[in-house]
């Protein structure tokens, strides 16, 4: 009871703390300096249609690397946590409809995923979105058959090398363009605005991110599905 009162007090306190902010809040009328620079820069310096992608992959590239790392850590962490548990064989069978459809949809979904991350600099979407989509394809497989076995070697290879190449591309920037150019996409020619082969290394990075996210999420699903 007293606990309940404290909970309500705490939440009430939080509400009162946030209230002034909510009351005074209004949307900005225009972009701030930094955002404007990003929009301009994305067009002029990076040749990338999708400003968000420019921000994600280039301007805040370190964040994205970190983000990939976080996901990687989650994979490793889950692997670490669930390291001893033997995979329990489940005999649950899914409906035939699901089983058949999953085989059929698998390729389609994966292709869509690949499309999304390849066009991350042009259209909404990107590596993460694409990667998640790829993972859902494998989720479908797991749903269809709980005992499905993935080729871990391939998964690991994709995961490891996509990550490694991502870092190495960043490193190439350092190597070629100087100490302030880690993750600089301009190591690859920028191409022409609006084309697939534009925005320098952004599509390459995003593809690697997509692969990495896809393989990692698949591993996570696999691990947790096994439990």
């Amino acid at each position: 009871m007293i606990n309940r009162i404290f909970i309500l007090l705490a939440l009430l306190g939080l509400i009162l703390m946030f209230l002034p902010f909510l009351k005074d809040f209004d949307f900005h009328d225009q972009l701030g300096d930094l955002s404007s620079q990003y929009v301009e820069g994305s067009i002029n310096d990076l040749n990338s249609q999708n400003v968000v992608t420019s921000v994600v992959v280039t301007y805040r590239g370190l964040d994205t690397l970190g983000e990939v790392t976080v996901l990687f850590l989650a994979t490793a962490g889950i692997g670490f946590l669930l390291r001893t548990k033997k995979r329990s064989k489940k005999s649950r069978k899914s409906s035939e409809l699901l089983q058949t459809a999953s085989q059929f949809l698998l390729v389609l979904i994966i292709l869509t995923g690949i499309y999304i991350f390849l066009h991350g600099h042009l259209t909404p979407g990107g590596g993460f979105q694409g990667g998640v989509l790829i993972a859902t394809a494998f989720l479908l497989l797991i749903l269809a058959d709980a005992n499905v076995e993935f080729n871990h070697k391939v998964l690991h290879l994709v995961e490891s090398f996509s990550g490694t190449f991502y870092v190495l591309i960043g490193f190439l920037g350092l190597l070629l363009l100087g100490m302030n150019s880690f993750l600089d996409p301009t190591i690859i020619p920028l191409g022409s605005f609006g084309k697939l082969l534009s925005a320098g290394a952004i599509p390459v990075i995003y593809s690697l991110v997509g692969l990495k996210v896809g393989s990692e999420l698949t591993t996570i699903l696999d691990k947790m599905g096994g439990e």
Binding site: L34, G66, V70, G77, F80
Partner: protein
Amino acid sequence: MVNPIYILILSLVIGFLLTIIDKAGRKLSLFFLYGVLSFNVAVMFIWFYQFAFVGRASLMIHTAGFIAPISINLKLGLLEAFVLLLANLAGLMSAMFLFKKLKETHISGLILYLVLIMGVNGLVMTRDLFNMFVFIEILSISTYALISIDENKRSFSAGFKYMIAGGITSTFFLLGIIFIYYFTGNLNLDTVLGNSSMLAMKTGVFSIFLLIVSIFIELKPFPANGWALDVYQAVNSGITSVIAVVNSAAILFVFYKILPLLPDQYLMVFVGAGIVTFLFSNLIGIKQTDPKRLLGYSSIAQMGLVVAAISYTTKLNISQDLVFIMAGGIFINHFLAKAGLFWITGIIKRSEIKDWGILRNNTPLLLLFGVLLFALAGLPPFPGFWAKWEMAKIFVSNNLYVGLAAVLIGSLFEAFYLFRWFGYAIKNERKEESLKPVDFSQLFPVAVFVLITLLTSVWIMIRVYAFDLINFLPVAAVFGMYLLNFLKAKLKAVLAIIVVILYGYSIYPLETALQSLFGIIFVIGSGIMIITTMNRKGKISGFYGFLLMMILSMGNLIIAKSFLSFFLNWEFMTIAAYLLILRGKKGQVPALTFITFSLAGAYLMLAGFGFMPNVLSSNAIINTIGSIEIPLAAMILLLLGFLIKSASFGLHIWIPGAYAEAEDDVTPFFASIFSKTGIFGLLLVAISFIKHSSEFNPFYWLGWLGAISAIVGAFLATFQEDVKKLMAYSSMSQLGYIIASVSLLSHLGWISALYLTLNHFMFKAMIFVAIAGVIHRTGTRQMYKMGGLIKKMPISYITVLIGIIAVSGVPPLSGFGSKWLLYSSMLEKGWYLQAGVFFFASGVSFLYLYRMIHTIFLGQLKYEHQNVKEAPIYFLIPQVIFIMGIMAISMFPNLIIKPLNSIVGNYFASTIMIDGYNVTSSLGHWNGNMVMMVTMGVFIVPLVFLILFNGRTQKVKQFNIVFAAERPESPQTTHFAHNMFSHYYKALGGLTKPRIQNFWNSVSEWSNAIAGLFRQIYTGNGQTYLLHILLYIVVLYIFLGV
């Protein structure tokens, strides 16, 4: 120079590839792991060296080819390099500690570990708010996962609680970031700092608050820290040490980075919260018996203190050096000590501090443990000590008295539980089981950190405070003696005497006669007393080092040129004394009491010195103190500190245990020499006071305190059965005389004070040495178990006889001189009632003195002592020397009165006349030499007469007495000894109740009860912890008062 971003690159690449590398074998993976970790250390070392010693400007690294704020940038400056060097080193060492674990565990463990350390590097260097969030998450997630390195239920449940807490705090952090972005349109810390006016309104401060408070909660403030404690307790020690120091260091650095966002007027809230954390965590710490949870409380407390220090220095904007010493000192101290201690808990693997006696099986480990523990307790020469010193100064100069008090009380609690632990390790009963051999991989990290701790300490002493080499001697002595441990005790004793002689020679000549007087007591007296210890056999490791440490630091007190040097040596002395007491067979509890009281005194002094101006002088402080006016508050604090050392009434309960349980040949050092340091301190304060007397005179009350000490000490001594306790209380009583006569602040008063000091030094030394010999031979301290030893140990008897005559003040020996001076000076000053009390006390002293000499040496010899021999020669030599000293000043009082007259003449106009051997005061006169002659005359005449008339007496055997018409045969029933003054006890009634003991007992019980009450908030329920966090945020915001 290696671009520090390579640390991130390399760690990530290896991290990503480790799964594949591991296919080629774990050895390769481990090679890469340690390789990268070593690379990190090397890079940071180079940069640290560049910044600190070459003077390079700090480095800004931008990314993606754009300059911040467009891109995210990293900064590497001196501070960053410093923190990262430590963090990476701890990372490497912890990995080494975990070697076995990492060899066996799943490869993901290695990956997580590697990336965790990378996260730390990124977090410290990044200058972008959101990037901080990302790195915090990297750090957190890898930590969460690593918590499960030992697969047990406790670590899983602790980990889950941790995740809940961490998840919510990072949500708030994120909200803070996005709100700040909303107001400033930027995420770069430096840009935001430049535009801080955009955040000046209420909602802006709120955003900053959200940001800072979530980092603050990651630093585990009391009481929103239950989750962290569980983690510390449950998780593998190697990982815990990473969490406790590496993660904390990184988070702390973030706190330091973002703190300037908050307008100055709000910073005090964090100072307060930090100090509250420090105080309460340490308070609850005293209830802990699990070493890891205990260290957890200590960690939390230390982080609280660092937060307070950082917040306060940020607010005050004081010089960088001071910030470094103060915040940096606490930080590095905590960092090194805590990591090391956590590792040791991982080696020992005992979850009750009572079981830590097993640590003694491994001497090197015990030493490492000791150094780290002393460092953590904030004792010199370790960095925490200097930090607290500066902190006291800064707090005082800004009138933050409550804060200072809380910090010092918290420190005392911390020292208490740490030393209790240490006591168990050193003294608690050793179980039969033996410690498994410790792997080199586990010992090495601890050793490295101990080494760094020591190097840092030395560096601070030399580079920051520019101490003379002589201040290092006490510590150097310990190490020197440790290296010579293989020598036999006698050889070491000779060596120690040589060292003392050389030391004495090196400080001679002293500037003033007052110094020389104390020099005689501290240095020469100690040198003589070392002879006693030559009776020891075997190697006696860990004794002479500490003995020398005590002696040399006492000597350094006399020649200290600054308050800091004085205090430093004061602490050295306390440490050495503590260790020596702990060596006693049952020394555990007395040593703990001693160190607790001593540190309480030291902290009072620390606060007191905080009020003092800095002294830069080439003269000893005792000579320059007259020109310094000590503020009243400082004076009272200092006096209290010194009174604890001189066992004044109310602060005396440590004395019986400490004196009684220290080894028998060490007790003389304590009683006759060590106790005089308190008197030296009193004089230090008094000299300043007489030159700048103020309205309120604390010394008047001190006089009364001395009187009460004298009488109470005498009462207590009267009712002891244990001879060493009896003499301990006697010391308390005699020191009461000295305290009072110092407090007289008059010419005659100070002569009597110094006379008493010298006299007490000699007679207490000889009595204790004689008693040590008796105990050595009889094997008991209970007086009633002895008796009739005069026939077996005549020389010891004579020593004690002369000693007690000197104590009691019976003419013609020197004791009378002290009494005459004392009463004359008291009456001259108008302290009539006090003089009456002293009369009473000196009467009571006859009771215990007679009790002692009669019960031990007279009466009936016990059968088991029929074959007891005289004490060994090593006990007799010092006795004879001191007998000669006492006789000399008794026969020729001018030997001492004249020098004392001239010493005191520097401070007061002389009020006595010395004509030949005749000393005349305004009230009376005393001719010591004539008294001696007359006494010898009146003694010899009847003696000769008796010999002439009754030369041939018949010697009879032991039981030739008529006792109720029977010849008794049992010495036990015939020896009137046990409970000798029962009638007196009855007569005194209420005066004999141990009120002070009861008072301190209840202080201890109350602290425990309060600690027990507070720790109830840690229910173990993750939801409650979350509630604590939310409530804490709300309450802190209310305190912020935006």
